[in-house]
């Protein structure tokens, strides 16, 4: 096929080929093929990631930034290469802007404990939205206790969308930070982050984006988004647990005090005075999660090896199919129907509590999340105590959506 013809072809996406890369998808649960619909909680891992981690520990492992010997140099190079992969993946201006943390939660806590403690004063305002995950609420409450700052909450519409005019009213001259999800983990809403960035910056505030879902479902360019901090976890991005990323503009990282003290984050130490290493080392005290960082690099390589545009289109197709199929199940109400949303779908079913649903579905091999999704304030606004959530990844098939629907019919037999 010549190049012109290739350009005219609609991108095709071979989901079965992708599935073949994920060994766990071949297993059974309770005697049924696994239907894994909880990727928004944690995604499964391709063998490219599993094999990379195994290879590191089998033949390439040593501590980093230490020894002048072959293995340590090799491990250091691989660890720093992973940082460069992350830099390219989010289009950061400098590799020094990529700080490895143990996850997105730690990254937010890091910003609250360093930037927040230094720059947030009593009476300053931090603006969140009603859709936030507990990990983007509680660190700011801790900061409020420490500093006397004020938290203000921007509302969400009942379909899960954000009214930017309402948002604008919440931001004011006292706003120092806006900290919001890029994509809601419960509703799938893609927040209007560019508009929010403009509002925040016009007020002289910084913008932190919780990118746990955004990094998975959107194409993230931190410079284009206009945010000041972007955080995400590897394990939702098909990489290992125990590693996450804080991206921040270099001048912010330079102005921030260290997070934890220890090895690797210092320039010189005397008992009288210690001077800090420059970013990112300043924020990476102690031996880091080495194999995990390299594993995250492998996950990024893996995603880059796919046609990501086609993969994203596939996820949207699965989401559309799931939304229309779910809506046809008697008694089911979709929670989160904002236009342009990502492939995460919450719902409730009349007469069946989400936990009972999840138990019955599990016996059909179907893994879904039931509960408050670490977003209790949002549950209260939506008027539910819990929802069932099906979330879709690069490996989800239409047949798995059919299995979910069949499972819900079965649940109605059991529970109603």
């Amino acid at each position: 096929m010549n190049k012109a013809a290739a350009l005219n072809t609609k991108p095709t996406y071979d989901v079965m080929k992708v599935r073949a890369d994920f060994p766990i998808l071949a297993r059974q649960v309770h005697g049924k093929p696994l239907v894994y619909l909880d990727s928004a909680a944690s995604a499964q891992k391709p063998r490219q990631v599993i094999e990379t981690i195994s290879r590191v520990y089998t033949s390439e492992y040593a501590n980093v930034h230490r020894g002048a010997y072959f293995l340590s140099e090799h491990a250091t190079a691989a660890y720093e290469a992973a940082r460069e992969k992350v830099q390219a993946f989010v289009n950061a201006a400098s590799v020094k802007e990529i700080v490895f943390t143990k996850g997105a939660t730690e990254a937010i806590n890091l910003v609250a404990a360093t930037w927040g403690r230094k720059f947030i004063k009593a009476g300053d305002e931090i603006v969140l939205t009603a859709v936030e995950h507990h990990s983007n609420i509680v660190p700011w409450q801790l900061l409020r206790e420490a500093t006397g700052c004020v938290l203000k909450i921007a509302p969400v519409r009942l379909d899960g969308s954000i009214d930017i005019a309402e948002f604008a009213k919440i931001i004011g001259p006292k706003t120092k930070l806006v900290a919001v999800a890029h994509v809601s983990n419960v509703l799938g809403t893609v927040l209007p982050v560019r508009e929010i960035a403009e509002l925040a910056h016009a007020a002289g505030a910084k913008l932190l984006l919780d990118g746990c879902q955004g990094i998975v479902h959107e194409f993230v360019d931190v410079q284009d988004l206009g945010c000041d901090f972007y955080v995400f976890s590897s394990h939702k991005l098909y990489g290992p647990t125990g590693i996450g990323v804080l991206w921040a503009r270099l001048e912010l990282l330079e102005a921030m005090p260290p997070y934890q003290g220890g090895g690797d984050m210092i320039d010189t130490v005397t008992f009288a005075k210690t001077t800090w290493a420059p970013p990112p080392a300043k924020f990476e005290a102690g031996t880091p999660p080495i194999a995990e960082a390299i594993g995250l690099g492998a996950a990024i390589d893996y995603l880059n090896s796919l046609d990501r545009v086609a993969a994203a289109a596939h996820e949207k197709d699965v989401l559309r199919y799931a939304m229309s199929s779910l809506a046809q199940v008697p008694g089911v109400r979709l929670i989160g129907t904002a236009p342009g949303k990502a492939s995460v779908q919450s719902f409730v079913m009349e007469g069946a509590h989400p936990h009972d649903l999840a138990t019955v579905l599990d016996r059909s091999g179907i893994s879904v999340r039931a509960g408050h999704h670490c977003a209790q304030p949002l549950m209260e606004i939506l008027g539910v105590t819990a929802t069932t959530r099906a979330s879709f990844g690069i490996y989800t098939t239409m047949q798995e959506v059919d299995a979910l629907i069949a499972g819900l019919h079965k649940a109605q037999q059991v529970l109603l």
Partner: protein, 166 residues
């Protein structure tokens, strides 16, 4: 369209008729008048909450037990059946039944063993409560069944909070 496979036995034993009945039409959903104790049970994993109130007579009899709350079929059914089983019982009998239900749900005993350990007049109550023991095949759901009981026990102990996380 219904392509669902037949139900497995453990699902049938979890969601028995009596559980679904109490789950959908729970008894004693109210606040006990002139209650002498009140405690909230909270399952932080799922956000389920149940508030139990009871009135204990000076002679140690549970004159009335009721609850309010939101939860799954198992936790609501358990609360409902508990309120029926314990009204008119002494505090010490309630404690014995709690321990029997706990052991049944966690799989430590079966119904016959549990009955043998209790006085004969509790047999009927235990037969009903034993329907909760289907949770033993579903380890993450055991807490759903025991949540209202933990709340009641805290309330009788004079505490106002119970949690399934210890």
């Amino acid at each position: 369209m219904n392509t669902a496979a037949p139900l497995t036995d453990d699902l049938r034993s979890l969601y028995q008729e009596i559980i679904l009945d109490h789950g959908k039409s729970p008894r004693n959903v109210r606040v006990v008048e002139h209650h002498t104790c009140k405690a909230q049970g909270n399952n932080p994993m799922c956000g389920d909450r149940v508030t139990v109130t009871a009135r204990v007579s000076p002679t140690g009899v549970l004159e009335d037990v009721a609850f309010e709350g939101k939860g799954c079929a198992i936790s609501i059914a358990s609360a409902s059946m508990m309120s029926e089983a314990l009204a008119g019982r002494t505090v010490s009998t309630a404690q014995q039944l709690f321990s029997a239900v706990h052991d049944l749900c966690t799989g430590k005993t079966d119904t016959d063993q549990a009955k043998a350990a209790l006085s004969p007049d509790l047999g009927d109550s235990l037969d009903k409560l034993a329907s909760l023991s289907g949770v033993r095949q579903f380890p993450v759901r055991v807490k759903c069944a025991t949540l209202p009981w933990h709340a009641l026990m805290s309330c009788l102990d004079g505490k106002n909070q119970a949690t399934t996380e210890k």
